[in-house]
Amino acid sequence: MRFLMRTAYQQDIRLFKYGSTLGWYVALVAGCLLMPLILDEYLLSQMTFICMYAIAAVGLMLLTGYTGQVSMGHAAFFAIGSYTSAILTSKGVPFLLALPAAGVMAALVGVVIGRPILHLTGMYLAIATMGFAFIVDEVLVRWESLTRGNMGFYVDPPVIGPWVLDTETRFYYLSLIVLILTLFAARNVLRSPTGRAMIAIRDSEVAAEAMGINLAQFKTIAFALSAFFTGIAGSLYAHKLFFINPESYTIFLSVELLAMVIIGGLGSLHGAVFGAAFFIFLPQIIIMTKDYLPTYVQNQTGLESAFFGLLIVLVMLFEPMGIYGRWLKTRFYFEMFPLYKKDSFKREKKYQKAERH
């Protein structure tokens, strides 16, 4: 068991709780930086996708995991980020400007959308955001003069100063750096009054208001921040794929992002990264196990999707707290060893008293 001895307030507001945590993360970053030396191009590109989706997942996590506002339309922000970046770079705007601009554009749309639907809760909010995503999708298809509609948009590779980032390795480093910056920024917000206000809104809106938290203002901020990060992820996505069209940004993507965030572990930044990793690795695992199945089953096109759905169900049944939840439980076991109590996390199976009438 570890004990935390603090003698100064400064220690309380540090980024990492224990000194050893910093060491582990440094090692992790070092390991990530060395990845291009170990992995082949394909796997490296998968890692890049993990970084990108993780950034988007961090965005969604801030909104859904920390502020408690469910969004089933985040693909829209992803799309807005992609198209903003693609259009700006095609007009000669340097990538280092286009990237944050993509985030800002998504954030602006987030504010515009968020404001009128702020007072919606739960399912109502989720469906409203879903509707909004459909509307954005349609706009992208119809506004052909800007987005070339269904014909798609060709995107230039990003250029930063003298470097053209058109190799896997270079793009991987770009994504990794952006991910680290994103996590740093998110962590900072979360250990500040804004982050606490977001958690307050999630846990008790009534009490939050009584503490002086302007619900409308902070929900809007949460929407904007969330959209910002997702937009940035969208920008990276566009520049990696070189070609985008509205078909990539469907309700599936929104649902995938939401599932990423929940399976990763709601309410933690780790969860965003774990969730993204899970969703990128899952198809790989399915492809690998496919070889062990009878040929008839193997050749079905729907197999991956079916397996995918099944695995999601099984993961949630096994660990409703998500991957990070399981990680915490495992760590707790080892911290408490050998005094771990078997039912430490047993959830009382309870019936709910509906708060509806």
């Binding site: 500040s192 206000a197 958690i199 846990d203 009584a210």
Partner: protein, 259 residues
Amino acid sequence: MTFFKAQEISISFGGLKALDRVSFEIGQGEIFSIIGPNGAGKTTIFNCINRFYDLDQGMLLLEDRDISNIKPHAVAEAGIARTFQNIELFKNATVLENLILGRHRHRRSSVLTEIFFSKSVRRQEIECREKAEAVIDLLDLEAYREQRVLNLPYGVQKTVELGRALAMDPKLLLLDEPSSGLNVEETEDLSFWMSDIKEDLGITILLVEHNMHFVQQVSDHLMALDFGQVLAQGPPADVLNHPEVMQAYLGEECVAAQG
């Protein structure tokens, strides 16, 4: 200037008149208690002050400033803190985080500075923690500082809620049945804290209570409410011996028996 004044406040829900022209005044630094049977409208008064409900009629004045129509989140800004009958803590956060959240209205940073966690944000965080520690010292919450609220026993949760309200540095403290669910020892602690709050911190307290002994011990003034109407107001002894108050609580026969 009276510190806090409620003038003829009325509110109805459907056909039910929850408050009927209720008026009272609280002086600075006083402990003012509202008593009455269940459903009398006591918590409704709190909800009106907190602006969860809109008054149909009447005015609420804090230091001669009309607060009857301000936004709910501006109530904290005005210097009014509150605890709730059924605890409304941020259950997934730690005790310390709850207390620091109480200080939200003192926040001076913006989101942009927070993203970069600038020096001013750091200073603000340290200052929040200093103030929170002062509250922890007052309420003896050291042992629970880092624990998640949902794991704490009921009495401690109530104390944390009181602490969160105090962390706000309020002018007026609204306490909704603070001693309900507490055992004898905890109630004793509470009455000591009440006098500490009144004398050391100079905070005015408006209290809703059922525990008559507790109320008599701590209050300067008392108001008895029933069916949304004021039955009696004044020093505790006067109010508690008022025939209508006794009737509301004990019933007509008892009052007749008392003579």
